[in-house]
Symmetry: C2
Subunit: 345 residues, 2 copies
DNA sequence: CGGAGGCTTGTAATCGATTGCAAGAGGGTG
DNA sequence: CACCCTCTTGCAATCGATTACAAGCCTCCG
């Protein structure tokens, strides 16, 4: 009965063996004879011994943990990615530390990229300073990335996915198509915009009306207000938004002002977060394989921690999910406006 | 130029001082003379020295980290709580490790409650085994809790909040009111159900129709289907759901089947997650002070880590948020049905 | 019977930083 | 000039586990 928390020597004393043997029972039981092992295990039980991880980590020069840097935990987009990572990492004996980069400055963040803090880093945020992340622990970039950094990336083909999304809108017969961007400078924003432009250009359609956004629900609402503020005949009849969250905000704003989706405007999102299949109308969107992204990123990182020197990108497939928020443009008003057009002139 | 990562002795050698002095410059600079400090700092810069946290933690017998156990990261309800915690903890030099309890077994979880792993634990999940959490690191329970555990709790008055929510529905004139519960056995589920029953009983209304749920979006959808399956005259005209996520699922299902909210059924949620103000109709709900819950929980934990022996509950206020999903029951059909009633008899 | 080889176990160094204690330097005072 | 006090700094023990190496004990073979 110790007052202190028992240490390995206490167990060793009780079992009548050396600390080395106790340690071996803990981490490499096969080399210890069955009889000794049993008595050590008994001693562990009696003392209530628990391993001190700090000591083990110091000796092993590893931490058994991986840090994920996430730009915004409030965005439900990330949760499933994290779940995928956690599952893979747990299987390999690592735990996952999740840090929200909104909540902290660059200094604090770089503190995570220390070998004595984490064995590896998965970065989901493209806005971090590239410099600080060099020459530290193994790093994998997922979804977003930082242009200056050499590290494996797990991603989707954002440009192609945007082409598919916008292609769908065009196939429905829309000709005035708008796009609400993600945050400026973000690699995803740029790729999705480029895909939008490519898809339109390839069909000989005019370039998109582009509204600013930042992936957040509220920026979608603001974009909705901006769309509503346009003269009706200039409004795009279909909008492709760079995130589902923005699409929710956009639709909410449009509906609150008395218009209907897809009657008055078709809306297409990006991500396929769980919620959007439950909205009214259910959102058409591009599905990202979120769990798979998390898994692959974790697998990559484990490989790097294991010493493999991977580079290059892993590109996972996306899927066009058609629901109720996209439909052909309503032609009746178009005829009306055509009729009204000449009258007005 | 070392091949190895520089250690404190390398810095000491370069600066011509002892390791003790270097250590003091790092953690207690005031006791070192200005001149020595400068030369040590210069040596640190030249060597590129970075502290080894494992070694420091071993010596300090602390980890500088706090673990939050969350039942389900996908639920956006938690993100803002976590943000609040992270902010407070970062201010005190702790970092926040977030673990999703879905993704792991009890064994793994208990591993986090080790002093050598984390300096404290914030538990947001009421389904953990009470036994395992005893006699380990300081623990604070937030939102949910585990009946067997003695630890400070940061919570809201769920029963009173449910009374307010249901009271509002009754005040609108509803008399057949239903409730969709959270997961069975959960303390929150029970308290919100009890509040619902109390509010109805206090007004002499019949007890609620109770449908099962588990806080998830999909269980809300299922509840919506169950509600729709009732004969129209038995359907509650107002539903109080124990989470906003379920309310979203419920409304989605009802709308997809062609009925309207609040015309055909008033819906009230619980939590006030960001999204629900953007839906159509915007959801009436009970707002939980999520960020404040996170902050207070973190403050509590820091106090306990600092040696204070707090106990008892901290109860934070909730707020009734009225939006568009609740309205008086439509009386026209009621008149019709009253007219039809006698005919039918 | 001597020696090789396989098992088990113990000894002691090691991981890298922190800190109690004491010594030395410098200044002030009686 | 002796003594005391304060300020800096170094020595060396310490945090708790891991592991290279060596030693002891058996067994088996020539």
């Amino acid at each position: 009965m110790q007052h202190q928390r028992p240490k390995i020597v206490d167990v060793a004393r009780l079992a009548g063996v050396s600390t080395a043997t106790v340690s071996r029972v803990l981490s490499n039981p096969d080399v210890v004879s069955a009889e000794t092992r049993r008595s050590v295990e008994e001693a562990i039980r009696q003392t209530g011994y628990r391993l001190n991880h700090a000591a083990r980590n110091l000796r092993h020069r590893r931490t058994g943990g991986v840090v994920a840097l996430v730009p915004n935990l409030s965005n439900p987009f990330f949760s499933q990615i994290l779940a995928g990572m956690a599952a893979v990492l747990a299987g390999a004996g690592y735990n996952l530390l999740i840090a929200d980069t909104c909540a902290m400055g660059g200094e604090t963040l770089l503190g995570y990229a220390e070998p004595s803090r984490a064995d590896g880093l998965i970065v989901l945020d493209g806005t971090l300073p590239a410099e600080g992340l060099k020459r530290r622990v193994p790093i994998v970039l997922a979804c977003e990335w930082i242009p200056g950094i050499e590290a494996p990336r797990v991603k989707i083909d954002n440009r192609a996915a945007a082409r598919v999304a916008v292609g769908h809108l065009a196939d429905l017969g829309h000709t005035r198509i708008g796009h609400v961007m993600g945050p400026p400078g973000n690699v995803l924003s740029e790729a999705r915009l480029a895909g939008t432009e490519q898809a339109l250009a390839a069909r000989g359609l005019p370039p998109p009306l582009v509204l600013p956004g930042d992936f957040s629900l509220d920026s979608g609402r603001v974009a909705g207000a901006a769309w509503l503020a346009l003269p009706a005949e200039q409004r795009p009849t279909a909008m492709f938004l760079a995130s589902d969250a923005m699409a929710c905000g956009f639709i909410g704003e449009v509906q609150h002002r008395g218009l209907a989706v897809p009657r008055d405007v078709s809306v297409m999102g990006f991500d396929d977060i769980e919620l959007v299949s439950h909205m009214t109308p259910a959102l058409s969107t591009i599905r990202q394989p979120r769990e798979a992204i998390g898994r692959r990123a974790a697998q990559c990182l484990l490989a790097m921690i294991g010493g493999e020197a991977l580079e290059g990108d892993i590109v996972l497939p996306t899927e066009l999910v058609l629901r109720a928020s996209t439909a052909p443009p309503v032609t009746a008003p178009a005829i009306k406006s055509r009729a009204a057009g000449p009258a007005r002139l």
